[in-house]
Amino acid sequence: MSGRGGRGGRGGRGGISKSFNREQLNAMGVLSNEVLPGPVTQPPPLYPLLDHKPVPLTPSVETDYLLILKQDLIDHMQLSPSYLKMPYDKNKQPEQEIDKLVAQLPSVKEKYDWKLFPSELRPKVLAHRVNKAKVSKSVDVQQRLNQLEKIEEKTGDKVVKEEEDEEVQDEEEEIIEEDQDEEMDDGTDYANNYFDNGEGYEDEDDNLDDGPIF
């Protein structure tokens, strides 16, 4: 809020012209023979000293009661299932005994009336799929290439790498991953075409190789 650049100098990017001519000084109300404060050489202190002590608080029964209420509310919120801790990092060893015990406490899950929430937020319970979302169709390159020599089609030669490796265990993620999968399908059409050209290029090479031998 403060720090408007001193006496409102021109504030050019190159350099601050620190001298005004006499007229401007007079207009601002500075008498001609006054000493102006020097240039600002460093940013203002992080904790500027207070010129005046703030008014002391008036303790009263009411404020005490309000404080107790406030603290009660916050304590209750922190102990309720609405307080989420960061997901437990399995790599880090808990530092103290108490942390180990705390981690073993069963976390209470909140029960919701789902009519008031969008359906996408519901935890989904699906049959655990064996086939993971990693679509890596086995590529038998030679066969495929020979097949596709004359037919120009998109090859199935794509390996879709999923970002959420960690979520693979989670049942809830299946549908979302599938959705993303489809998105990836749509999104990488261009990549397919690109690969296509690559395959075709390799194709020609093979032919060339075959040529002389034949």
Partner: protein, 506 residues
């Protein structure tokens, strides 16, 4: 909203809901309305946690959703002013306690802890709590009456609901449904209470009630006005204004700028019926004339018919309160001479630097220094006027003035910054003394456990000895510091409320 505001929001969310929800909330604050996957991508949290965090935020009505173009997916928006309101929950509970008593206080407290609930379950829980904490047996019937009175006074309001079954529900609350009393089946409730019937069997399932914050703000606004009059005149004048406001609601919408005329006779009758302020009754006419002639001009005569009527000007009141607040802030920050300059500029509206020196009767150099200090801190603004004659030097006037809207918003930002500083300091204190606070908590839980098992006094004393005297001193100091910081938080919230009221009426 500003960066400062965003930081305060983050700290509030972190204190009450933990780091995960804080991350989600901060992202929503910075990026506006976004669908679920954006949040997941940018916060690097597992999707399940993001979903949980959003569910919690939606439950506490801090996040709302609207359907995307794809009707299966929702866009989420953070309601940041609701987040700031959480600082005021203690105030709301206190207000209800004073007005309605302990049972209603507990009803509102339970509702604030859960954001919304069905009426029957709420009543049963309050009965349980009363039995546990205060050892008092409260009947379902009496609590039902209290609940109905709260709904009729509009302190509780129905939660918006959706009739259709779409993937992204459209939550609406028809006006007619807002304060309709739900069905209570007392027999069923007694069955549920004794555990013989499941909670699902209650008739008002799905009918959720929540706290109506606007109504509380109305009460707080009235309290502000009454306090102002009490401080300026005396208790009786405050009582008079309170009754005037009470009568106002019969004829005027709650948030109107000016009240419709209230006949004086009605107020006189009310004072007589109440019979608490005999002095007020005796000198009623004098009080009326004093209040009317006061130079704040907040209560004026509306008409002569039927013994006269009075109007109270609410918008004007808050304009004056806001000015007063800003003047006091200038006084506390820069001392009385600067405050004098500020009031001078306020009365003259546009004033030159030399004139300030003359009229404020402050030595020239100091006047200049103070006025430029106020300018730097954005309490005063300058306006340049060029008056150039074709020949001769270019004359330009620099005039000081106050743009009250700008100053008020700047003060609001200062309040947010103060809040942020206080909360950060609290967290810092907790962190620095973490070891000792944890130790104390462990000792307390051990003592509680042992007390339940019926341990002897000596054993309890032994355990308490685990905390050494110097540690006890440190704990006391920490306690005092936290208490101070918390009280400051409450006071800042009062200032924020006043400034918000001013901005509301603009």
């Amino acid at each position: 909203m500003s960066v400062q505001y965003g930081k305060v929001i983050s700290l509030i969310l972190q204190e009450r809901f933990g780091p995960v929800v804080e991350k989600v909330g901060t992202y929503l604050f910075q990026y506006g309305t976004v669908p679920l996957l954006y949040i997941k991508k940018n916060t690097n949290l597992p999707l399940s946690k993001v979903k949980e965090a959003l569910c919690i935020l939606i439950k506490y009505r801090l996040v709302t959703f609207t359907p995307n173009r794809n009707a299966n997916v929702a866009n989420y928006t953070l309601q940041h002013d609701q987040v700031l309101l959480t600082l005021r929950y203690a105030n709301y509970i206190n207000l209800i306690k004073k007005k309605f008593g302990n049972e209603c206080e507990m009803i509102v407290e339970e509702l604030l802890q859960r954001s919304y609930w069905t009426a029957s379950e709420l009543i049963l829980k309050v009965i349980e709590r009363f039995k546990k904490d205060h050892n008092k047996a409260v009947t379902i019937l009496s609590l039902r009456e209290k609940f109905i009175s709260l709904v009729n006074a509009q302190y509780l309001i129905r939660l918006p609901y959706s009739e259709e079954d779409k993937p992204v529900p459209n939550l609406i609350l028809p006006e007619t449904d807002q304060f309709v009393i739900p069905q209570f089946e007392l027999k069923q409730m007694t069955l549920v209470q004794s555990g013989k019937a499941p909670v699902d069997s209650l008739p008002d399932r799905g009918v959720y009630w929540t706290v109506n914050f606007d109504r509380f703000h109305q009460d707080m606004r009235d309290k502000l006005i009454v306090n102002a009059f009490t401080k300026k005149f005396d208790e009786n004048a405050g009582e008079f204004v309170r009754l005037l406001l009470q009568q106002m609601y019969i004829r005027t919408t709650p948030w109107a700028e000016v009240s419709n005329p209230v006949p004086v006779i009605e107020i006189r009758d009310n004072v007589r019926k109440q019979a608490t302020h005999q002095h007020l009754l005796a000198f009623f006419d004098q009080y009326v004339s004093v209040l009317e002639q006061d130079n704040s001009q907040l209560i004026r005569q509306g008409g002569e018919a039927g013994g006269g009527s009075l109007q109270i000007f609410l918008k004007e009141a808050f304009v004056q309160f806001a000015w007063e607040t800003v003047e006091q802030i200038v006084l506390e920050k820069f001392d009385s001479k600067a405050a004098r300059i500020f009031r001078l500029v306020k009365s003259k509206q546009y004033i030159e630097s030399d004139q300030i020196q003359q009229l404020a009767m402050i030595p020239a150099k100091e006047a200049k220094r103070l006025s430029y200090q106020l300018l730097e801190e954005n309490f005063l603004q300058v306006q340049e006027l060029k008056k150039s004659s074709s020949t001769g030097p270019n004359k330009s006037f620099t005039l000081f003035h106050i743009d009250i809207n700008q100053v008020i918003r700047m003060t609001l930002e200062l309040c947010y910054k103060t809040l942020y500083n206080i909360m950060t300091r609290k967290n810092h204190e907790r962190l620095v003394h973490k070891r000792i606070i944890d130790k104390k908590q462990r000792v307390e839980t051990i003592i509680m456990g042992m007390r339940v098992q019926g341990a002897g006094d000596e054993q309890l004393a032994d355990i308490e000895e685990m905390i050494t005297p110097p540690e006890k001193e440190i704990l006391q100091k920490i306690d005092l510091t936290m208490k101070k910081l918390n009280s400051v938080e409450l006071e800042i919230d009062e200032t924020i409320f006043l400034l918000q009221m001013y901005l509301l009426y603009q």
